[in-house]
């Protein structure tokens, strides 16, 4: 569904992604694992074309989306949930959801505010609150809900478990599994191996902007040396 082929991305002169390649198949949850600074966030941004790869290509549903403006990428059904959450703090919860709204798309779940409030009951109570009045966990929920309003077929979750309380992390895992059941494809980046264990089908380990390991979760668990080399567990 999503193919990343040999992309090289830069921040100014810093070479962040180095011939990175991997695929995400429809209906799967793929976890991008790696240490801080390995290039996980840049990968996400390169898929969204927020950082434009200088070489290589990103293909989504058999269409080359490299160098496409981000808003068109989003319109094709790629939903992006950034690491820093980036909710609109001066807008209410309802207004934040409105920004994410996109027309219905064939073959994906059509989300409505009520369905989302069903999934995130905490947000339902706060629908008229401004973004800045929410807790960190609520903000994280809102970012996901906002992206779902665009009825994506693939969602990019950048470090969803970062900086939130353990209880919420559990809820996050529950949400991801629920989305998977609804047919959504998920690419998430993580430093937390335990969280990835709970939700992912496959893992890609990145180190210095290169994919060092690709395989299923079961295969990774059978190779503790790989784990110890690339992940600080």
């Amino acid at each position: 569904m999503l193919e990343i082929k040999g992309i090289n991305s830069f921040y100014g002169k810093a070479h962040v992604l180095n011939d990175l390649s991997f695929d995400v198949a429809r209906g799967q949850v793929v976890a991008l694992l790696g240490r801080n600074g390995a290039g996980k966030t840049t990968t996400m941004k390169s898929v969204m074309q927020l950082v434009v790869p200088q070489t290589g290509s990103v293909t989504f549903q058999d269409i080359d989306i490299t160098r496409m403006p981000p808003h068109k990428v989003a319109k094709m059904g790629l939903g992006y949930v950034p690491e820093e959450r980036r909710i609109f703090t001066d807008l209410t919860v309802m207004e934040n959801l409105e920004v994410g709204r996109q027309p219905e798309r064939e073959g994906t779940v059509k989300w409505s505010e009520d369905m989302l409030f069903d999934m995130f009951p905490n947000l339902a109570e706060r629908r008229t609150n401004r973004g800045k009045e929410l807790s960190g966990g609520e903000q994280q929920m809102l970012t996901i809900a906002r992206t779902l309003m665009g009825n994506p077929s693939l969602i990019l979750l950048d470090e969803p478990s970062e900086g939130i309380a353990p209880v919420i992390v559990e809820e996050m895992a529950r949400v991801i599994l629920r989305l998977k059941k609804d047919g959504l494809t998920v690419l998430l980046s993580e430093q937390n191996l335990h969280f990835a264990q709970a939700v992912a089908d496959r893992v890609v380990i990145v180190e210095s902007g290169t994919a060092k390991y690709k395989g299923t979760l079961a295969e990774l668990n059978a190779q503790p040396d790989v784990r110890d080399t690339y992940l600080s567990v």
Binding site: H71, Y80, F88, T89, D90, L91, E95, V99
Partner: protein, 619 residues
């Protein structure tokens, strides 16, 4: 009592157009983060376009339709400007955007002159609203009452658009995080264009709606500019209710000012602004600007280093040429070079603040004109000899800069720029309106150099020595520890603070120092011309310097000097054309989009390409 109420009504009516124009500016700033200096030009266009429509469309129906059409047409012009001029510079540093919009001002000025001619138009009176109504015995024009009634509708429509519609939600979201809005599937390019259309249409409406009160003339653009900036800054950048409250506040105060303090009308609004900003640094309804949100983009700043051998040789050769110039050149050339040298020092002092300090001052003319006026006043009232006046001029300018800087440096970014502009305007209005002391519009004349320096050649040498000396001191300071501290404060205030640099203090000293240097230029200027007029303190003068620094190249140490020499030299030729503003405006826009490194920066790149200079990464 009747008089009092009539005054308030007049103020409210005046607030109407002011609010429309200012809310448009505020809206555009809120979403695009561009301070649209050309906003006054759209207001002026609105008046002219509205006037033309009113000539064709008859009756009350025609009058109001003309106003709406003026808004629409100006909005469409706004779209063209946005797509051609602003789209390429959205990602550029703030200064580039400002300069680009300044280019638009020049282009619009000359196009208006070309289309409508130089004569002022008296606005047609509104059909059906020509008379007056007596309120408690005082006459109030009917049209004023119509304006007072109209404004809340415009304000309400805007409020509804911004708070209740999907477009408004997207606009507010984009105000905060454009990239994220794009990543959620919204084409923000069109959102920006839409906002620019709306903002310009509001300016056009404002221009057309004030026709029966003020007519249309070619000075409208600059005349309203400071007022709308004051309104937007007092209200808070990006806040519509703020713009309304501030427009009313300023207009009402102004009407009372005219009656009770006629000497102070121009200064009054700036005083209000300064007072508001001291207590509420981000305006009445504004919120804090997040620093670094739209900071330096693109290539990282190169380290500044002393000139290399080749560069030194070229400069030395130039200086030798200048030294022997009186032997070969005629006195016209000497006067021209004197002007250029003075302007170069002025530009270099602004470049010091802007390039090294990152302090975008919009009111640098205050210190140039301030120095000039200090010298002129000393000569006129105390018979001070030139030598002493030239020493006291920079002291006075520096002192002024220290006082103004103390207030301005409490703020950063756009608010800092606005405050420097306000102080410069304050000084200008003081000089302009305090005619008994400063000569007002007639200026001060008969200020000539001492006997020994009165010859063209001698004064040429004097100016050359002082200006080049000043420029060398400025350059030297850039390489001194103080220069390092200043650049540190520019690049990362927090980190500089953490290493023990008192950043505010360093910036304050730099502000005073640059002011004093501009004061030397001002002092020389007054003696070279023999007279001084308030226009040396005008916004346009400050902008001259900004443009020069920009054209020269902000990031290059030589930028100010190179730009100053190029522009002042070219001006002599370019102003011989009838439509030189148009040319200059187009040139500025061209440079912003095509050669954003400026003259010095572009030359350096060429030199590196052909191997004349070593590249940074090879050196």
């Amino acid at each position: 009592m009747g008089f009092f109420i009539a005054q308030i009504l007049t103020g409210l009516a005046n607030a109407s157009a002011l609010f429309m124009v200012a809310s448009g500016l505020s809206l555009i700033f809120g979403v695009t983060r561009i301070v649209n200096f050309a906003h006054g030009s759209f207001y002026m266009l609105g008046a002219y376009v509205g006037y033309s429509f009113m000539q064709v469309l008859p009756g009350a129906w025609g009058f109001w339709t003309s106003i709406l059409l003026a808004g629409l047409v100006v909005g469409i012009i706004g779209i063209v400007v946005e797509m051609l001029v602003l789209r390429p510079v959205y990602k550029a540093p703030e200064l580039f955007q400002l300069v680009a919009t300044f280019g638009v001002i020049l282009v619009v000025q000359d196009l208006t002159l070309l289309i409508w001619g130089a004569d002022d138009f008296l606005g047609p009176r509104a059909p059906g609203l020509k008379g007056i109504i007596r309120i408690m015995g005082e006459p109030v024009p009917k049209y004023d009452l119509a304006l007072i009634a109209l404004t809340p509708f415009v304000a309400f429509a805007l409020w509804w658009l911004i708070t209740k519609t999907r477009t408004g939600i997207l606009v507010r979201a984009a105000t905060q995080d454009r990239e994220m809005v794009g990543a959620l599937g919204v084409n923000q390019a069109w959102l920006f264009t839409g906002v620019f259309f709306l903002g310009c249409a509001l300016a056009g409406l404002g221009g057309a709606v004030q026709l029966p009160k003020g007519g249309a003339d070619l000075l409208m653009d600059f005349n309203i500019l400071s007022a709308i900036f004051v309104v937007v800054v007092i209200g808070g950048m990006g806040s519509l209710p703020g713009a309304y409250v501030a427009a009313v506040l300023i207009s009402v105060l102004n009407v009372f000012g005219v009656n009770y303090l006629p000497q102070s009308t121009l200064a009054l609004m700036f005083v209000v602004m300064v007072v508001v900003l001291i207590f509420r640094p981000f305006g009445l309804f504004g919120r804090e600007e997040v620093a670094g949100e739209h900071g330096q983009v693109g290539e990282p700043e190169r380290p500044i280093k002393p000139a290399g051998q080749t560069a030194r040789m070229i400069v030395m050769a130039g200086l030798v040429l200048l030294a022997f110039l009186p032997l070969i050149g005629d006195s016209f050339l000497l006067v021209l070079i004197t002007d250029i040298a003075i302007f170069c020092l002025f530009a270099a002092s602004l470049h010091f603040l802007l390039g090294l300090g990152g302090l975008v001052s919009f009111g640098h003319a205050a210190y140039f004109g301030g120095g000039a006026y200090a010298a002129a006043l000393l000569v006129t009232y105390a018979g001070t000899p030139m030598e002493l006046a030239l020493i006291l001029a920079p002291l006075a300018a520096g002192l002024t800069a220290i006082i103004f800087g103390w207030v301005c440096l409490r703020l950063t970014g756009v608010y800092f720029a606005m405050l420097t502009l306000a102080f410069a305007q304050l000084l200008w209005s003081l000089v302009f309106q305090w005619g008994d002391f400063t000569g007002g519009d007639d200026g001060l004349v008969d200020i000539w150099p001492s006997e020994w320096a009165s010859g063209t050649t001698t004064f040429y040498y004097l100016a050359l020595v002082l200006c080049i000396g000043g420029i060398i001191i400025l350059r030297h300071t850039a390489h001194a520890p103080f220069g390092y501290a200043l650049r540190g404060a520019r690049d990362s205030a927090r980190q500089a603070e953490a290493t023990g640099i008192n950043t505010k203090h360093v910036q304050w000293v730099a502000f005073g120092f640059a002011g004093a240097m501009a004061g030397i230029a001002g002092g020389l200027f007054v003696f070279s011309k023999g007279s001084i007029f308030p226009n040396e303190l005008e916004i346009a003068r400050s902008f001259d310097a900004l443009i020069v620094v920009f054209l020269g190249g902000v990031k290059t140490l030589a930028g100010g000097v190179v730009g100053g020499a190029a522009l002042e030299g070219a001006k002599d030729y370019i102003t011989r054309f009838e439509y030189w503003r148009l040319l200059l405006g187009l040139l500025i826009i061209f440079v912003v989009i095509v050669a954003p490194d400026g003259i010095a920066g572009t030359l350096r790149k060429w030199a590196e390409k052909i191997g004349l200079m070593k590249r940074e990464d090879q050196a």
